[in-house]
């Protein structure tokens, strides 16, 4: 049961990290392999604030979000926008290039060692339920916190998408950008905001995840594969798709590493391959979606 719990925590974290990528792919049809770099930025921002400026952990989280979101908005406007029309190969090369630059810069300025995240006291510790029974559940408080925050964010995202005007503009733009533009929706603004929020969420995820996933300059490359899996399996036309995919991935990974440690990530990759063979458009795609 603990494994399930840990898996869910991991999955929710992955979801928050990857949801921006999924929406960007669906909206702008842009393969952004530098997405992991935004997560890394959020993580490092948090670490630096906490270590150098003694900013409390909880305060760092919104700052990580906002800071990364600003960075995302800036880059979208300047670098990414001309890339939307380019073929996918170019987008892949471009974003890999950005990721490389980010990785190398962080390595240069901060060094390549793992960053240690000092959690506040009240987040450390564990609660054990039903010890000794098969339903034994050990809940790390931090993981509980992660689940709570991510769940809240998910609900918030779903609300924004379905009940606000921005949400409906976003959905219209995903469905058909030209028609949306023709209806008076400022597609550029929608793109910019979405990219910013997506990057911000990645940054937040990076900050949240630093303790669980580790934080060093190779973070973007190491985890990019996982984000891509979430997007490829979950599809780009909803947020429930990537959510379920992320949960599935999280649980599979944790369970796999626990029960069959030698195989490690093998299970995850094989699962992904099998799913993509069976449903090349992803598991949870609407009929007629992209």
């Amino acid at each position: 049961m603990t494994i399930l719990f840990d898996g869910i925590a991991y999955g929710m974290l992955l979801f928050i990290l990857a949801v921006g990528l999924s929406v960007t792919m669906g909206l702008m049809n842009f393969i952004n392999l530098a997405h992991g770099a935004f997560a890394m930025v959020g993580g490092y921002l948090t670490v630096v604030l906490m270590q150098r400026f003694d900013v409390p952990f909880l305060v760092c989280l919104p700052i990580a979000f906002a800071g990364t979101a600003l960075l995302g908005a800036f880059l979208e406007r300047t670098l990414y926008r001309p890339m939307y029309r380019k073929p996918h190969l170019d987008q892949v090369l471009f974003s890999i290039g950005l990721a490389f630059m980010a990785v190398a810069s962080v390595d240069y300025f901060v060094g390549s060692q793992q960053q240690i995240m000092q959690l506040p006291e009240w987040l450390k510790g564990r609660t054990e339920l039903g010890a000794g029974t098969p339903w034994e559940l050990g809940m790390g408080h931090y993981r509980l916190f992660i689940i709570a925050v991510c769940a809240a964010l998910t609900v918030g995202l779903q609300y924004v998408l379905s009940a606000t005007r921005f949400g409906s503009r976003l959905r219209a733009s995903v469905d058909d950008p030209r028609v949306a533009a023709g209806m008076g929706i400022n597609v550029n603004v929608v793109f910019a905001m979405t990219f910013a929020v997506g990057s911000g969420l990645a940054g937040l995820g990076g900050a949240l995840g630093a303790e669980v996933l580790g934080l060093d300059p190779t973070f973007p490359l190491k985890f990019m594969v996982y984000f891509l899996i979430v997007v490829a399996v979950g599809g780009t036309s909803s947020i429930t798709g990537p959510l379920l995919a992320a949960l599935l991935l999280g649980v599979a990974d944790v369970a796999g590493k626990y029960y069959v440690p030698k195989l490690g990530a093998f299970i995850v990759y094989t699962l992904m391959l099998a799913i993509l063979m069976w449903r090349p458009q992803g598991l949870f795609v609407r009929q007629g979606g992209k």
Partner: protein, 319 residues
């Protein structure tokens, strides 16, 4: 009407600079004996890049896992040499054949879905092979790599020497042979049908091309060639390790191809030379920051436009 044949045939005719290039290449290991090792590396990596060009440049398949075949060929050849027979050419054939089989099996995975799906599927394949090689460490040596591969003499006469000159010449010879075959292929009607599939899959179907079958065939061939490169790698270094499956390999070779130009076979060769030399030079100056400059280069390259920066007459590989 015969004058229509000429422009077509001219495209596939051997250009004046080609024999010169190859002559220079073959004399290099003997003229610069201390650089024979890197020449060998360049030849191998050029072969790998050429195989990716068939898939990416001529057929439009975006693959981030081409190293699967490189690695599979390498391990097969290494194991063959170690346990069955140390003859290099035999091992080369076995490695190539094994990679072909893997390619044929995997080709089913790249036929459907979007570019992203293909990216993931090819990447996933390489990662799976990595994990498998890691797991079966009794066979493969795991993270220590497969060591102690001792090769017999090439063609029964040329022993591999310590300087690497024989190795370099061997690799160059194989590169030339395969390159020549690939060249014929891309300038043939078959090659033209591949480009048609790349440019407009819908229309390709509408003129009667069995698209899936074509893609499967070219993927298998490219896999075999990559396997040959892997076999050469294992044979000339006497060693096979896990990083042959790593993402960096697949990414590096894609980079090389982009540098040299996608869609004209020499792009792989040129790109390999330029990349390796750049890597050598930059690594000696600032070892950690190779990544940064590579990244910057990529960003600038894409923003300026791949066509405009290099060879304007090259066709951009449309994914």
């Amino acid at each position: 009407m015969a004058n229509l044949q000429m422009p077509l045939l001219k495209k596939s005719a051997v250009q004046w600079w080609e024999p010169v290039l190859w002559l220079l290449a073959f004399s290099a290991p003997w003229a610069f004996p201390h650089h024979a090792l890197i020449i060998n590396e360049i030849a191998i990596v050029a072969l790998f890049a050429v195989s990716l060009d068939l898939v990416l440049g001529y057929s439009g398949i975006v693959s981030l896992g081409h190293a699967s075949f490189l690695g599979f060929g390498a391990y097969t050849a290494a194991l063959f040499a170690k346990w069955i027979h140390p003859d290099p050419l035999l091992g080369l054939v076995v490695g190539t054949a094994a990679a072909c089989v893997l390619g044929a099996l995997c080709s089913a995975t790249i036929l459907r879905g979007s570019d992203l799906t293909r990216l993931m599927v090819t990447l996933g394949m390489a990662l799976i092979l990595f994990e498998l090689a890691n797991k079966f460490d009794g066979l493969t040596g795991g993270s220590d790599g497969l060591q102690g591969v001792v090769m017999g003499p090439v063609l029964g006469r040329f022993e591999f020497d310590l300087m690497g000159q024989v190795a370099a010449s061997y690799s160059l010879a194989i590169l030339l042979a395969i390159f020549f075959l690939a060249r014929r292929l891309v300038h043939s009607p078959f090659g033209a049908t591949l480009m048609a599939v790349r440019d407009n899959r819908l229309r390709a179907m509408a003129i009667g091309l069995p698209v899936s079958a074509r893609l499967a065939v070219v993927y298998t061939i490219a896999a075999g060639i990559a396997g040959a490169a892997g076999a050469l790698m294992a044979q000339t270094t006497g060693f096979a390790s896990l990083d042959v499956f790593a993402l960096e390999r697949s990414a590096d070779v894609m980079l090389m191809l982009v540098i040299g130009g996608v869609g004209w076979l020499y792009g792989g060769v040129v790109g390999a030379v330029v990349f390796k030399l750049m890597h050598d030079v930059i690594s000696n100056i600032t070892p950690q920051y190779w990544t940064f400059w590579m990244g910057l280069f990529l960003v600038v390259l894409v923003m300026v436009g791949r066509e405009r920066l290099f060879k304007p007459w090259t066709w951009m590989g449309r994914s």
